[in-house]
């Protein structure tokens, strides 16, 4: 797979060096980050290293800042007026993604996202998946066909929709729609996939399918998943970060967090005493 250097847009000279580092090397380095919505501080001095080709879960009660941090990683928070990273840096392969010279469009191509509520475009399944590629100017038919099949297979959806690729994506069931969104995200071959509570709107069976999918995707992508569901974090992630009131309380291997938490608050949360 020929990975184009993610930050090599014509305008910006800086690019993240692409290295085939082994699983476990640091990909995203979150370094003492403070984040504000207007005047209210949402994140307090967060430091965290996300490792390559691992699944990292963010857990914590509602309003603890886990989704905010996730949306900082591809700068989706830029879309909300009055938000800012007041202190600290977020580096992907050593490049500060909030540096003015970084092309945010390129960043989002490399850091894909799947949302809480499935949001396929009101277009056909085929067009949903090729949307990101067309944005990059790719329009070769056989090329696109190949990507559509590969992405849908990657999202374990191919067999279910291969006969109706040109019908509306909104005609699928909730679980299928969410997998379509995952297929759409992996079609542009990002390095990182951010998942913001991807199963919260799904029934248990669809949830199992998406969780199985995450297990398959971890071999190719670095995944960061925000979840409310502690069993889910325990089942699918390698590392878990527990947030509370905008602060990172504990970050460790998932097994350690659930079996042997170092912090009393973490222990109270994972054992279901609050949250």
């Amino acid at each position: 797979m020929d990975i184009k250097s993610p930050f090599s847009s014509p305008a910006s000279g800086r690019s993240i060096p692409v290295t085939t580092s082994p699983a476990g090397a640091t990909l995203i380095d979150i370094d003492h980050v403070d984040f504000y919505y207007g005047a209210s501080q949402a994140l307090h001095d967060i430091s965290l290293k996300i490792e390559e080709k691992k699944v990292t879960a963010f857990i914590g009660p509602s309003g603890c800042g886990k989704s905010t941090l996730l949306r900082c990683l591809n700068r989706m928070n830029d879309l909300i007026d009055g938000t800012r990273v007041a202190k600290g840096q977020i580096k992907i392969r050593g490049i500060d993604i909030y540096d003015p010279s970084v092309d945010v469009i390129e960043l989002r191509k490399r850091v894909g996202m799947v949302f809480q509520k499935s949001n396929p475009f009101p277009k056909s399944i085929y067009e949903n998946i090729t949307y990101g590629l067309r944005l990059q100017g790719r329009s070769n038919k056989s090329d696109l066909d190949a990507v559509v099949e590969k992405s849908l297979r990657g999202a374990a959806l191919w067999d279910e929709v291969k006969d109706r690729l040109h019908t509306s994506g909104l005609g699928l069931s909730g679980g299928q729609q969410q997998r379509l969104c995952i297929a759409r995200a992996i079609a542009v071959e990002p390095e990182v996939i951010l998942m913001d509570e991807p199963c919260s709107a799904l029934d248990p069976i669809a949830t199992v399918k998406v969780e199985e999918l995450i297990q398959e995707l971890r071999t190719k992508f670095t995944i960061v998943i925000v979840t409310h569901n502690m069993q889910q974090a325990a089942r699918c992630s390698d590392k878990t970060a527990f947030f509370y009131m905008g602060k990172l309380i504990e970050f460790a291997d998932t097994r350690a967090i659930f079996m042997n938490p170092a912090n009393a608050q973490t222990e109270a949360y994972v054992s279901g005493r609050f949250g």
Partner: protein
Amino acid sequence: METPRPTSHSDFLVNKKRIRVLGLSLDDAIKIFFGGNAVLSVIVLALITYFLFQEGFGFFGQNHRNLLTYRQAGLEYVDFIRTQESGHIALTRYLSDLRLRQYNEYVATQKMLPSAANDALAKFDEFAVQYGDAVESIRGMVSDLTEQATAIKTKFLIAEDKKIERQQLLAAGKIEAAAAVKIETVDFAAELHVLKGILPLYKETNADFAKKLDAALMAAPKFTTPELSARFDRFKELTRDYLATFPSTTSSLETWDYTRPVPWYQAISAFLFGREWLTASFWQDWYGIVPLLMGSIMVSLVALVIAVPLGVGAAIYINQIASAREQRIVKPSIEFISAFPSVVLGFFGIAVLGQSLRWLSQQAWLAWVPGFPFSERLNILTAGCLLALIAVPTIFTLAEDALQNVPKAFKEASFALGATRLQTIIKIVVPASLSGIISAVLLGLGRVIGETMVVLLCAGNRIAIPDFTAGLAVVTQPVHTMTGIIAQEMGEVVRGSIHYRALFVVGIVLFFLSLGINFIAQKIVRKYRISIG
């Protein structure tokens, strides 16, 4: 110890404080109040519709009689020859245009003095006089016949009036007075005998006329430039075509029969496809809606061409790009436009816009614009610009709503895939709200087509079908519109007359037009709701 409660156990469910209005519970009273309002508005609507149709439908019977009289009184007969005469007038107009061009050529290019130029045109003038005078005998004949036919028509109409008078007297029980009303029955056969008797003389005169035209063409003058010669050749060709129509005119006259019935559908088709709206004429009234319909459509079209980019563009900017501060300023400002009474806009159109547009059209550096310069200050363009102003708030508000209804999740998904703001707007937001935008445009059109005051004041009010051969310059012509004609003429017509009813039918057409537009808009909106899911 528990003390027994004073109320018995069984009536704790009964509400003692229930308010009653006119013997009804409050709930029922409220229900009847609001339901009554709804029923009342439906009844009023139904009454308006009924009134419109009741007044309008009588028109077709009256129009049928109108057309029948046209034939029976021999007006149709005279019009055959009149058409021939007006054909000749058009040709002489072409000829005088040609003279002007040649004169300009002499003076401007060959630097002749005006007197010398006129001298050089002496041979042409001689030809033109000869050509023009050839029609005189026909013209005299037409004016004689016009008088005769008018006399027959007047006599017939008087007789009709008398009949009505007698009926009214009879109805009032005044039998003697009724008997005293003298009704002169019109014997069309005898009256028209004189009219038809002219035929041999016409044939003779016409042959003479044709001969004179031929002779005039033989002695045709020469022109100094190939362009003018070509124009004159075209003129000769037109004359020959004109001469070729003579036999058919003659045969129309020969076969014409006043007893031939007028089919009933002609009363409708003469209205729907009639190219003339001519009222209170000494000769014959025509009620054809085409010029008015064309006027309304042209004005609305110009308005939409201006208002759609402005309204939709502004909606996209405000909804997708503008900061909250800009939104707070721009949105109310655009919506504020609709606070102007349309008569004020019309006044502005006459005093400022029409004047400025004309001034602009007369600037030399804008001469390349089609239709520039123009002399009519009130025309399709002026009215269209103002109507666009009226349509913009409607289109803007509804299109903005449609854009607002696009789920934010679509935008987020698009951004997360690395789309720029422009790509997201073009590929996701606008397509997702397209049906909403289309219905916004349609409702804007509905708003514009029913607008009266502005077009009455600013469209120029000339009842004529726009000349589409002018290309884009057609927008600089004055027109009259359906709404304008109703507002202008309704005040001065006799209640129950054919003219009065014709205006009602115009109103019905307008009603159906608006209804159709709104219906389509509704359909599209409904479909759009489903597609978003």
